[in-house]
Amino acid sequence: MSEKLLKVKDLRTEFFSSKKSSVVAVDEVSFELEKGEIVGLVGESGCGKSVTSLSIMQLLKDTPGRVTKGEVIFEGKNLLTASKKEILNIRGGSMSMIFQEPMSSLNPSMRIDRQMIEGICLHTSLSKAEARERAAKILTQVGIPDPQRVLKNYPHQLSGGMSQRVMIAMAMSCNPQLLIADEPTTALDVTIQAQILELMKKIQKEQGMSILLITHDLGVVAEMCSRVIVMYAGKIVEEAPVEILFGNPTHPYTQGLIASVPKLGSGVKVLPSIPGSVPDLSSMPTGCRFAPRCKYASEKCRQQEPELVAVNDKQKCRCWLKQ
């Protein structure tokens, strides 16, 4: 077994509308990431995948959210109890992040070079000129043909795909151990999506870093990941290596998700879908959170919540049918 890079244990993140009332966006989330591994975190919008990633990076400032329980152990250090300085050193250094909207994730009033140099200078001892050189080199690595021109540009002068390449370059600039990619291709059109995914794979191979890939696109997961974590309504419902998850999904939610992916040549006219919608965070059903939408749900499912348990040596599932 190779070394663990990130261990998330029993993470709980709550969003507070006042001092006393809150909704739990992420609950009992535990998973591990090995060095050099690409893990997918999938689920519908609002299931807590982004909040999980922001909780790991501790980027919940200016949101009403707060991590109220659990541990995030990165390279042996619990980030939730680490000092501010330690966090600043890790963020953008050994752990970096790219976001869903590349166009709005770059500061509109700052040229690309300043935005890139800023990060490099924070985590290395390079001078500004050296940092600029490194920025240009990384831009070339991410497939930008004319890095000197792009460095002088403002974000609005770049296309969406270019912006995401710049974001990736920025995230890669200090050789991180872990890259958290929060829906990195959702805002891009399909051909650009493929290019960006290819690029991430290539860089991952070259540098041997780990990627936590957050997405709702099962196609992206199949393409990129070795292991998949499925979240539903703030909790992990299934975890398995990618081929097992697609071949033999155990949780009814995962089954529903996979069934709803269109398949070429299947001749199916109406795409199957999961009835109902994700429960509101403020009125979670008692028992299994998926029970109201589950065709197998029994009385027990509606009253008692199942635990996430191993169904075999590689797969975990949160469902009474498997316990």
Binding site: I87, R91, S96, M97, N107, P108, E118, H156, M167
Partner: protein, 306 residues
């Protein structure tokens, strides 16, 4: 940029023309007869008529307008009906006082207002935020005349620290500048707070934090500059308002500025002076708006003019 600037400058010409039409005809719609006011209550019909003749007030209003515009294009705003002095000279001599007052107000108010707003946004929901906003709302709710009178009562009458009128020494500027600036300070505090809060929710602020940037630099180098666009718009409008709205301050502190000249001229139906002043006020507004538009391009490179 320079082409855009020239285009905008040229656009001022038709705009001022339209403004002049409105100003001229609205002024002549004010009830009251300047000839009668000038001649006095006991004047005979012939005397009043003579005054009308002298100042061209008996001509059809369209003719009067064209006469006025012809002179205006030669830089002549006419003569005051009351004092017979050239209007341009009258306005020029009064303008310096108003400008001094406005300058005294905008020297501190925008800086303090934006500072309070930004601090409130950073400490949103906490005691400092509430205190800052209470201060801003108080400033917004306190009428200028009341602030001025209270200032005179406390600092001039009771404590004797500051003069109650005039702009002879730097001390004379303190109270008027307080009255001029308080409103702007309060408005800007509120706008810059909400603008900063909006900016702090932007994705690029999160990106800056994700780089491991220090909070102070995230706030000022990434959020603050981008939050300024809204604030600059409001600042421009406020300064425009000050230039034409210094009447109360000038009256309270007996400062012979443009605002007081306007009030006096309205009492006497001194048409040329009112017209001249309104045209100047309008021009100031237009120019400040132009400056604000130019500033947008400096703050946000996305806004380019060509």
């Amino acid at each position: 940029m320079s082409r855009y600037f020239i285009k905008r400058l040229l656009q001022i010409i038709p705009l001022m023309l339209i403004i002049s039409i409105f100003v001229f005809f609205f002024i002549h719609m004010i009830p009251g007869d300047p000839a009668k006011t000038l001649a006095g209550v006991e004047a005979s019909v012939e005397e009043v008529e003579a005054i009308r003749e002298e100042f061209g007030l008996n001509k059809p209003i369209i003719v009067q307008y064209f006469d006025y515009m012809k002179n205006l294009l030669h830089g002549d705003m006419g003569r005051s009906l009351k004092s017979n002095l050239p209007v341009t000279e009258m306005i020029a001599s009064r303008m310096q006082y108003t400008l001094r007052l406005v300058f005294a107000g905008i020297l501190w108010a925008p800086v303090l207002g934006i500072f309070i707003g930004v601090i409130c946004a950073i400490y949103r929901g906490r005691a400092l935020d509430h205190a800052g906003m209470l201060f801003a709302i108080t400033g917004l709710s306190a009428p200028g005349f009341w602030l001025g009178l209270m200032g005179i009562e406390i600092f001039a009458v009771r404590l004797g620290w500051l003069p109650s009128a005039g702009l002879d020494t730097w001390k004379g500027y303190v109270l008027p500048s307080l009255v001029m600036g308080t409103g702007i300070m309060a408005v800007l505090a509120r706008y810059s707070r909400s603008s900063m809060l909006e900016t702090l929710r932007e994705d690029y602020v999160r990106t800056a934090r994700a780089k491991g940037q220090k909070e102070f630099i995230v706030m000022f180098s990434h959020a603050f500059k981008n939050s300024l666009i809204q604030v600059v718009t409001i600042l421009g409008l406020q300064i425009g308002g000050l230039l034409s709205g210094s009447v109360i301050t000038e009256t309270i502190f007996s400062i012979p500025g443009m605002g007081r000249l306007l009030i006096d001229s309205i009492f006497y139906r001194d048409y040329p002076v009112i017209q001249g002043l309104l045209m100047i006020f309008a021009l100031q507004y237009v120019l400040i708006n132009l400056i604000v538009d130019m500033l947008y391009g400096v703050i946000n490179p996305k806004i380019r003019y060509d």
